[in-house]
Amino acid sequence: MMLAKKLVVITRKFKSRDLIFNNVVWFLLVIVLVVMGLFDPIFFSKGILKNILVQGTVLGVLTAGISFTILIGEIDLSIVGTIGFAAGLGTLLMGKGLNWLIAILLIIVIGTVVGVINGLLISRMKAVSLIETLAMMLILEGALLAVTKGRSIVNFPDAFSFVGQKAIFGIPVMIIAFLLVYIIVYVIWNKTVLGRSLYAVGGNAVSAYTSGIRVDRVRIVAFTISGAFAGFAGFLLASYMGAVTMTFGQDYLMYTLAAAVIGGVSLTGGRGSIVGVLGGVLLLTVIQVGLQVLGISSYYVTMVGGLMILLAVIIDAVRIRVQG
């Protein structure tokens, strides 16, 4: 009785419309889970949750990174180039005798350097991020092809594969990395000067500059973080798969954009929450895992992915119309 009363008060406090729009992704997630569960009760088990989180980790880390750039009203397409190139170069050198720990660090550093270059070109040279990062994506995808000559890189030491394949106290290390990244991003976005600056630059860069925020520096930092996260995602994926192929990570691009937008990060900048992004990542992962579990042919997966992105864009457009 008390609880019911409380609930009524809470729902009255928020306008129900805003409540739905700000959390639309979580509503969708619940609906999708229930629908899938009706087809196959396995969706209500603990094991599947673990599975979803593990499979969502790479997408999650990539999306957290690109969300930094979307939040400031830019975009970083190069992440899917970075993920493959950084992982490819790192594991290749590891195969030639480089220490596994240094290889991991190298993978992340490569991503970071790519991010810094993107940031400098976009903030200082005023390059358009869509095109600049598209070019960078093609360069890095090509570079991976050139480095691997089309062959897959395999046979990683156990230490390298630990994060991707092992568990601590029954919890896969992937999940720990996933959640850690989201906690860090949550703190950055909500509690720090950098986070406030990201929202300010995305909301109105001129006002931000006039308010004393070093807009160029914020842009560089956003792209650097995006690059570093892409590098880290490259390591996670290599560690998880145990191989780097010549098209390593390239199919993540559209899903990462879709996850961010479904999660409520506005493509025009200045609006979004990391909790929403997490919801977006989980939603897309659940759908992908669901299609596998339900035995739907992989021939349909791309189409469903496309439909999800379409849905994301429509939700974004409706949200902007309704909330103004």
Partner: protein, 500 residues
Amino acid sequence: MRESILDIVNVSKRFGPTLALKKVNLSIKRGSVHALVGKNGAGKTTLVSTIAGIIKQDTGDVLFEGQDIGQLSIFDRQRLGIRIATQDASVVPHLSVAENVFLGAWPKNNYGFVNWNEVFRVARRKLQEYGLNVDPRVEVKKLSTIEQRKVNIVRALFGGAKVVILDEPTTSLSAEERDSLFGFVTKLSQQGTTFILISHYLEEVIKMSDEISVFRDGEIFNGYLKGQIDEEKLATLIANETVEFHRRTGKAANTGERTSVKCNNICGPHMRDISFSILPGEIVGLVGFPGSGAREICRTLYGLLSFNSGNVEVNGKTLRKLTPTKALREGIGYIPYDRNAEGLVGLLSIKANVGFSVLDEGKWGFVNSTFETQVAEKYLKELHIKANSIEDEANSLSGGNQQKVVLAKVLGGKPKLLILDEPTVGIDIKSREEILSSVDALTQSGVSILYLTNDYGELLRVADRLLFFANGLVVREEISIGLNIEDVIRMRDSVRSGIK
């Protein structure tokens, strides 16, 4: 009594929970200038949007020359002769002035081609008639904002308009340009064109309107005829309470002749050699036409424009290069003339906007949220910002309250020099007077103010000293006591003609 051309009958309009128009009745007479005044959000713009067909009323009728046009589209209404010239010049920047004037109604020759000679000839004549001295062949984007706006108005008039709606037509025009615009409007209204004028400048409203209607919270109070009402009475009607015009309480007792900020021989775009100094607690008014160097020096001092030579001395420290970040650190604050473009991040809360000034108060790169909340709460109260809480989005506030948020943001940084660039443009009178009195109060604690505005009445009420700018130089300096608006205009014009 002249016949009415436009009748608004019992029009209501609701936006979500707010009733923007409450059973508004209004009759506008042919050939008259009818002013609509009121605070931001009182319903003026909603009503003219209903008249122009941009939005549709929920209930009630709009009659034009006796015909019900309530359901017609904006284009149909334009064809009938209702035109709106909005605040933001809606000109096509890449087309020539003449093409813009004729936009969509180009005269054609016998073969159906556009008759360009005719276009330029007629455009030139129209522009001259208006006193707008621009080449009809020049691209609009090359004109100043002010000239663009004039082109926009000429276009509305040329499109065969019988009723022209002018929404804040004189924002950021100089007094001289305002006068020329009024002259034109008055002339045309005598020839039979009807004007609906929305303006915050009560002085101009009283001078040029035949009839004035006051909006308050969606209700209309009409029937104030020319000569029956003065500025202070009108202000009281708009606010629904007595508005006292703020007057400077007096300069703070000066602690010696120590200067606060000094500009030494600053040269740069539109600045040839600018030198002046400001004392602590002094309010210095800047007077000058656009391009005279007055606005440029304001923006230079805040680091928004760069200068080639010269330097700025702030409390004895010499600075040769400035950015906003650096200026803020040296205690220089700036309120830009366009609060939406440069002052606020509209998507963020009041708290976050005010908090920009105290971002460096936290440790380890974290925002000091407690302190930020304190500062925001303090200014919400002190500046009478009307909002539900400091968590409200800045976008949701009215213009006057937005400007107060910008002021709060700057004050939060505890500036020693505050630069105000048209701080009261487009905001209601009550807010204006509150801002003026806050600024005045600041000087008691030794803050210096640079005050740039085209509203000389306002300037004379608060400034201690006036600097006149022309051609990138400070050409005259006057103590403002005993001057009136006409004196200021005369001085400004004489220094300009003296240079030429």
